[in-house]
Structure formats: structure tokens, C-alpha cells
């Protein structure tokens, strides 16, 4: 599929009105200044793609005309200074912004070429397909086992208790938590340490085997060993799944991702192959950020 053809597939529903546009200069009609994203935000085989996404919290615009593809079986890292809108953008990908009062999303986002903001989109199905690990660990105030088993249970993924046990164990193992908690699966998940809670949330997210996993700083509370385990997991997961990860660690972005997107004040400044971005950034903001002169 050529880039142009793939772009033609984006149906223009709702507020999106730019199905056909010039290949290079993305039309940015909402941005205050006429910034153009450097690099190619789209890929040939996109699992998810965002086009000209604007996000508003009330009157305040947090995301300005961001277009970004997330390729199939690809890990995309999102970096940028605090408050630049990484979490906000990530949340648009599984419509978690819907539950924030006053939050409004404009633009066009597709999953497997289907608009996820169209009115007949089922958000429950969408969130089962696009899982999320939140920036702050948020285990349910229930047992460790129930935390992991909850997703498979409501979706009816396990047909027997033994199968459920298997899913729970496998998920906990992959999140590198099983050995620490195997004797206390019935203890409340909220009683774990911060880092353990975050891994529990990762286990919970992967237990439903979503097609896309959105990770918002999954390792910010983890020690280097647990971080290495999660990075291993990401490598493992990308064989089958598509991953978008927000991180404040340049090294992590460099290690796990194929492509990196740099956000700044709600705009996508630069995007490209991770190696390119880290070795040869085009925009001075990107360069400042990754060399540590900023943020």
C-alpha cells in the first residue's frame, strides 16, 4: 500500500475534513503558528493512525493538529517535556479522554482503518482491543488475582477456572511479578509497593491480549531490574502486538522503540526512526531535549 493510497482510506467523518491532502505539508489549521511536523508521521502498514488531532480541555487546547501512525507490530516511543500532551494524545487512541469532563477531541483516528470516533464505535470493544497502562499505578482495591482476572472474566476469555489460573499466572510472569506474589495472590493489589503495583497493572492490561497496548510511563516507578523485565516484555509483545509507549527515559526509548515521536507544547515536533531521531535530530527543540539541554 502506498502512502497516498493509505491516506485516501481515511474516511472523513465528524470534524475531520481533510481526507486528501498534500503528502508533505500536513495542513495545520488549528495550530497558532504554522508548525510542520518534521519527518514522516505515517507508515505503510498502520495499525492505528491519527490525523490532524486536536484535543481541548475546555477552552484550552492541549494537542494541536497531531498526525501520527502507529505501525503494526511496531513500538512507537513518545517523548517530550512534562505537560506537552503525551498522555493526552495516548488517551485519544482508546478514547479514555471521553470520561474527562470538558475534554473534546477533533480529528480522525483509525484502528485497522476504521474510525474509532464514529458514533457507532463501541468504546467497550475499542478498549478491549486497545489496552492501556496508566501513568499512575491504579490497581483495583481487590486481590492480586482478581486484578489480573477481571479483564478476561468480563470478556469471557477463560472457559474454566484452570484456564483463568493459567492466564493470571502467565500475565503475572510476563510482567515479572509472579515470583514475588505467587504466595499472596489473594492479598489486595493495593498493598503492593508502587513498582509492584505498576507491574500488576501491566499484567492486568496484557491479560486481555489487546491488539494495541498504550503504555504511559510504565517504568517510571520501577527499579532497573524490573525495568529491564518490562523492556524484555515489550520486545516480546511486539511480535504480536502494537505498542505505543510514553517515556521520560531517552535510553528506554532508544532501546525499545522503532520510531520515536517528540512532542512539545501540544505539537508533534519531530518523528522518525528512533536511531535517526537520537543520532541526527532535525529540529533544534528535539536536539535540545535529547541532549539534555531542555526539559
Amino acid at each position: 500500500m502506498s502512502t497516498v493510497a493509505s491516506m485516501g482510506n481515511f474516511s472523513s467523518k465528524g470534524t475531520a475534513d481533510k481526507a486528501d491532502k498534500p503528502q508533505q505539508a500536513l495542513d495545520i489549521n488549528h495550530a497558532a503558528d504554522d508548525h510542520e511536523t518534521i519527518g514522516t508521521p505515517w507508515v505503510e502498514d498502520a495499525k492505528m493512525s491519527a490525523r490532524n488531532v486536536n484535543v481541548f480541555y475546555g477552552d484550552k487546547q492541549a494537542i494541536m493538529s497531531v498526525s501520527l501512525d502507529i505501525g503494526r507490530n511496531e513500538v512507537v516511543a513518545m517523548i517530550g517535556p512534562s505537560g506537552c500532551g503525551k498522555s493526552t494524545f495516548l488517551r485519544t487512541l482508546n478514547r479514555m479522554n471521553d470520561i474527562i469532563p470538558g475534554c473534546r477531541v477533533e480529528g480522525n483516528i483509525t484502528l485497522d482503518n476504521e474510525d474509532i470516533y464514529q458514533s457507532q464505535q463501541d468504546t467497550v470493544l475499542l478498549r478491549a482491543r486497545v489496552g492501556m497502562v496508566f501513568q499512575k499505578p491504579n490497581p483495583f482495591p481487590k486481590s492480586i488475582y482478581e486484578n489480573v482476572a477481571y479483564g478476561p472474566k468480563i470478556h469471557g476469555l477463560a472457559h474454566s477456572n484452570a484456564e483463568m489460573d493459567e492466564i493470571v499466572e502467565k500475565s503475572l510472569r510476563r510482567a515479572g511479578l509472579f515470583n514475588e506474589v505467587k504466595d499472596q495472590l489473594d492479598k489486595p493489589g493495593t498493598g503492593l509497593s508502587g513498582g509492584q503495583q505498576q507491574r500488576l497493572c501491566i499484567a492486568r492490561a496484557i491479560a486481555v491480549s489487546p491488539e494495541v497496548i498504550l503504555m504511559d510511563e510504565p517504568c517510571s516507578a520501577l527499579d532497573p531490574i524490573a525495568t529491564a523485565r518490562i523492556e524484555e516484555l515489550i520486545d516480546e509483545l511486539k511480535e504480536k502486538y502494537t505498542i505505543a509507549i510514553v517515556t521520560h527515559s531517552m535510553q528506554q526509548a532508544a532501546r525499545v522503540s522503532q520510531r520515536t515521536a517528540y512532542f512539545h507544547l501540544g505539537k508533534l515536533i519531530e518523528v522518525g526512526d528512533t536511531k535517526e531521531i537520537f543520532t541526527n535530530p532535525q529540529h533544534h527543540l528535539t536536539e535540545n531535549y535529547i541532549t539534555g539541554r531542555f526539559g
Binding site: M96, I99, P101, V124, N138, P141, G151, I154, V208
Partner: protein, 429 residues
Amino acid sequence: MSNPSSPDNTSLIRSSLKKRYARERRFKLYGLLAVLTGFMFLFVLLADIVIKGTPAFTQHFIQVTIDLDPDALGVAPGASAEELQAANFGGAIKRGLREMFPDVTSRKDKRALYRMISIGAEYDLRDLLLEQPELLGQKKEIWLRAHSEAGSYLKGQVDTELAEEDRKVKNNLIGWLDRLEAQGKTESRFNVAFFTSGDSREPELAGIKAALYGSFFTLMVTFCLAFPIGVLAAVYLEEFAPRNRLTDLIEININNLAAVPSIVFGLLGLAVFINFFEMPRSAPLVGGIVLSLMTLPTIIITSRAAIQAVPPSIRQAALGVGASQLQTVFHHVLPVAMPGILTGSIIGMAQALGESAPLLMIGMVAFIMDVPGGVSDPSTVLPVQIFLWADSPERGFMEKTSAAIMVLMGFLILMNAVAIYLRRRFETH
């Protein structure tokens, strides 16, 4: 401008510290005083109620030798149960009393003597005979319930220093009772009747059972209506309702309803449920509906607060793994909010239990002797019973009033204990 770390600044801070600490100590003292004052009032109130109410839990009995001769009772030997029902037990008791005090001759004194025993004693005697028919024809010493005036003297509540005309218990009665006491023919027992009988005109026969049942049925109706409706309304308003003018209006009105004087709900109940829907008067059904209207705002407001207090991260977590909104609410939000909801509901129910004004409006103030058997039987409730007794002139009802208050408070404490227990239970899960 002096440097903040310079030595004279340090001394300035030090000198001001003394003042600041003194202010703090004073403030703590005021706080402690406030707490102690409140506690003292509470203590005085409780002590007064307990001191006044405790005697109501005992009842004096007087031993009288009674001739259960069938002739004197006006029945045939080996009389059937029906015949015994109509037997003249009052006469037998009077005869027994006359035999004990042969020196009492004048009509007036005799009448005073008879008043020593409660009129309820006749029925006690009848029940005894119905239970043991073989007693018919025997002469037996039987413990009979004392009249409340005699009882109050035996409980030591009568001030004998007072001039005779200023007290209800006259000297002759005192003399007789002293004689009986000396002979060991008086006895104080636990007042079972207080818990097993309904209201009565005679203090020694009056009990709270009817009121307790009435309260129970009323609260059942209130709970069954107010709890589910209140919680579901709160869930809907918090989790599902769109935010618009209409829901804002509803919200304001719910808050206003919570501040409406309870008697207004009584008027509403009278106008709507009794006059329009022609539901039975004085019935727990109507009382319960009226009280549920009154407690609904409390339950809705506290439930909403409890639901709001659930961290949004839990909602996000549930939605994030693909739970529907309903699943999120019922699997995660409600369990976390439950302790708060229960506490609010129990507070609302406790309010309802202690409420009397709206129930007066719908006729639950009637004099009811029979224990209600269901939600549509005429009945009264504990607070109204307290109100009725407090209004009675007989001295015997004063202690009943306090005793009933003790029972009411016992139930309130119990309800709060249940609330705390449930909260603990839910919190550990």
C-alpha cells in the same frame, strides 16, 4: 531588609515563638473545654434518662392468698376454658385482699385496698387458671401484679415527708404495704410486660411491644423504598446522567428537600397517600412511605458524595480493560463507595427511627394496645409512644417514658454499630 538567617532574626523568631506557643496552648485548652462541655451535657442528659428510666424495668408483685372456689368464681367445677374466661376473678382477688386485711371495713378504705393490685392481675389470674385448670377449687398463695401507685411506693419513689393530701399514695396504703413488706409478701421482679405488651391506660401494664413492632414495620417500609431508590438515583445522577439544566435543577431540588421540615412530609402523606390514594390511616405502610420521602434526600446526597469520593483512577482502570460503564459502576465504584453509602443510609434510617412529627400527621399517634401484625395494621412507633407517655399525667408513665427513650437509644447505638461493622467488613475487602 535583614537577612533571614542573621542572628537578630533568630532572636526575633525565638521571642515570637513564646507567644505563638502560648496561643497554641490556649487554643488547645478552649478546644478541650468545648469538648468537655459537650460531653457534660450529654452525660447529664443520659444520666437523667437512665436514673429516671431504670425503675421501669422492674415491677412489684404482691402475694395474696386466693380462694379459687368455683362457686365464688361463678363457674361450675371443671369449667371449660370459655366459662373460665368469664369467671369473676376480680371478686376473688378482692376477697383475698379483704381476708389479708380484716381490719379494713369502710367502703372507701376497701376501695383503696383494692387499688393496691393492678386491674391487669385479673387477667394474669385467668391466664394462670387456663394454663393449670387443676388449681380450680384450691386455695393458693399467688403473686399478683401491684398497681403502679403501690409499686412506686415499694420502689421508694414516694416522699413520705410530704403532706398526705399532696401525694397520691395515701397513708393507709403505705401502712398496708409496710405490713406486707414486713411479712415478705412483696417482691420486685424484672418487668417482662414492658417488652411483651402494648400501650395501656395503666402504667404497670403499658409496654413498648406494639410501638417496637410499629417502628420495625415502618422502618422496613422506609428501608425497602428509600435505600434502593436512593442508591440508584445517586448512581444514575453521578455516573450516567448528562450534565445539563435539568440535572442541575434536580440536584438543587434534592438538596432543598433535605432541608424541608419533616412535618411537611407528614402533611404530604396525609393529603396524597391517605386522602387521595385512600391508604389506611395510622399504618406503618403510610408512615414508612412518608419517612422514606424524608430520608431519600439524605441517602441520595451521602451516596453521591461516597460515589464522588471513589478515585477516578479506579474508574479509568476498569474502563481501560474494557469494562462497560455498568460493570465499572457495579464491580468497582459501588463496592468502594458502599461503606459511605451504608453509613449515610443508616444515618438516614436512624433519623427515620427517631422521627415523630410527620407520623403524628398521618394518625400514628392513636392509642394502640394491640401489637400490629403487618404494615397495614394501625400502630404507633417508639418516638410517638414516648411522646404519648410523656404527655400522660400518671407518675408511672414518667419512668416508662425514660425507659422507652433508653430502648430507642439502644436501637440507635445498635444501628450505628452495624454501620461501623459493615464499614470495617467492606474496607478489608
